[in-house]
C-alpha cells in the first residue's frame, strides 16, 4: 500500500512563483528554499490534505499538460512525485505517513 504525505503546517509556508523557479519560505525553520518544477505544483496540489503520490499525479494532470524532460528515460511521474515528496520530508517541510 503506497504511503501518504502531508505538509506539516501549510500556514508556515510562503510560496512565491517567479519565472522558471519559485521561492518557498518556511516560518518554522526560518529557511528559504528556491524550488523548481514540479515541487511548487506538488505543494499546491497537496495543500492541507493527506494524499498519496498517485492522487497528486491525478490532480496535476487535470491542471497541467504534464510532460517529461525531452530525453528523460525511465522515471514514472509517480516515482518523481514520491522523490520530491521525500525531499520535502528530509527538509522537515512534509510528513510521511507509512501505511502498513
Amino acid at each position: 500500500m503506497a504511503d501518504s504525505y502531508k505538509i506539516r503546517d501549510v500556514g508556515n509556508l510562503i510560496l512565491q512563483h517567479l519565472d522558471y523557479m519559485s521561492l518557498l519560505y518556511d516560518r518554522q525553520s526560518g529557511i528559504t528554499h528556491i524550488i523548481a518544477e514540479p515541487a511548487p505544483q506538488i505543494i499546491e496540489a497537496l495543500g492541507q490534505d493527506v494524499m498519496k503520490a498517485a492522487q497528486i499525479e491525478h490532480i496535476l494532470k487535470k491542471q497541467y499538460d504534464v510532460q517529461m524532460f525531452e530525453d528523460e528515460s525511465s522515471d514514472s511521474f509517480e516515482d518523481i512525485i514520491i522523490a520530491r515528496l521525500d525531499e520535502f520530508v528530509d527538509l522537515g517541510l512534509a510528513e510521511k505517513i507509512i501505511s502498513i
Binding site: 518554522q28 525553520s29 526560518g30 529557511i31 522537515g92
Partner: protein, 350 residues
Amino acid sequence: MMSKAGFYPDTWLLVDCLREPDRALRLNDADWVALITMARAETLMGTLAYRLKDKKVPKPVEHIISDALIDSEYQYRSALWEVDCARRALQSYDGPVVLMKGSAYAAAGIEASHGRSIGDLDIMVSEGGLKEVESLLIKAGWEWVKEDDYDDAYYRDYMHELPPLIHKERDRMIDVHHTILPKTAKPNPNALAMIADAIPIEDGHYIFMPEDMVCHCAAHLMADGDLAGGLRNLWDMHCLLSDFSGAAGDFWMRLKQRAQQHELWDAVHLSARQANALYGTPIPTDWMQWSMRDTLFQKRLLARNSWGQQRHKLLRFAFYIRSHWLRMPPLMLTKHLLTKWRKGHKAHEL
C-alpha cells in the same frame, strides 16, 4: 547613579542594568555605549534588549534594541529548528534524549531563554546509547568537526561527550553527552539519575528536572568553564533559581541534597552566592557566606571594561589553567597544553 564612562566600575553597569532595567534609563550617552558594548561582549545583548524592550529609551537605543531582538528571534527559531531536526534524525532511537542548556530552556519556554543567545545543540543520552545516536546523526547529514586524531581521542576518552558533530547543510553543531562533567574531573555527577528523573516535554524530548538543571548550570559555570561567558551563565542560574524557588516550598532543601548527591554542592552553593551578589537572586540566608575565593571569582566575572575588552590578564590565565586542571589530572594537563601549544593553538586568547 551619577556616572560618566570610566568612573562607573565598568561591568557593574551591565550587571545593575540587567538586575534593575530602570537604572539604565538614567544613563548618559557614554554610559549607554559602554553598556551596549559590554552586553555584546558578554553575549547578553539579547537578554538586556528583552528587559528594556518596553522602556522609554533614547531613539538610537531603540534601534539597537530592535536589531538585538531580531537577532534573538533568529537564534531562538534556529535553535528550536535544530532540536526538531535532531528529533526527526533520532526518531528510531528509543532511549530518552535529554536537551541541555540553551536548547532546553528554549524548548521548555523557561524564563532564562528570553533573549538568550543559543549556541550549539547539547543533548544527553545514556552511555550505552552513544554508538547508535552517533550513527543515526551521521546518517541524517551530520559529520565530524574535529578531523585530527588527538582532539578526537581527547574528546572520547577524557571529555564527557562525543567529538562535536556539525550538520553539512545547516552549519549547526551538536554535542552529544553521556554525563555532564569529564570522567577525570573530581566531581562525579550521577548521570544515570539525571536521565532517569528527566521530565518529558511536548515534542518527545526530555529536560532535566529543576534541581538537576541548576546542578548542570552550576557545574558548567564553576567546574567546567574558565568563567568565560560567566556572566551569561550566571544569568541563567539567576533565572532558574528565581523560577524554581518561587514554585515549590522546599526547593532549596531538595536542591542542596541533589547537589550533594552529584558532588556538586560546592559549585551550586558558590554560583548561588555569586548570582545573589550580582543579580540579587533570592537565596536562603544561611547560604550567604562570602569568602576570599568568592571575591576572586567575582573579580574574574567583572573583568570587562567600557570598551568591551578583557582586563586582569593574569587572573584570567589562572582561571584558564584552573578550568583545564579541574578536567584533567596535572600530568595530563601539561601534556594537553603542550600538544595544543605545539600545534599552534594559542593557550586561550589572552
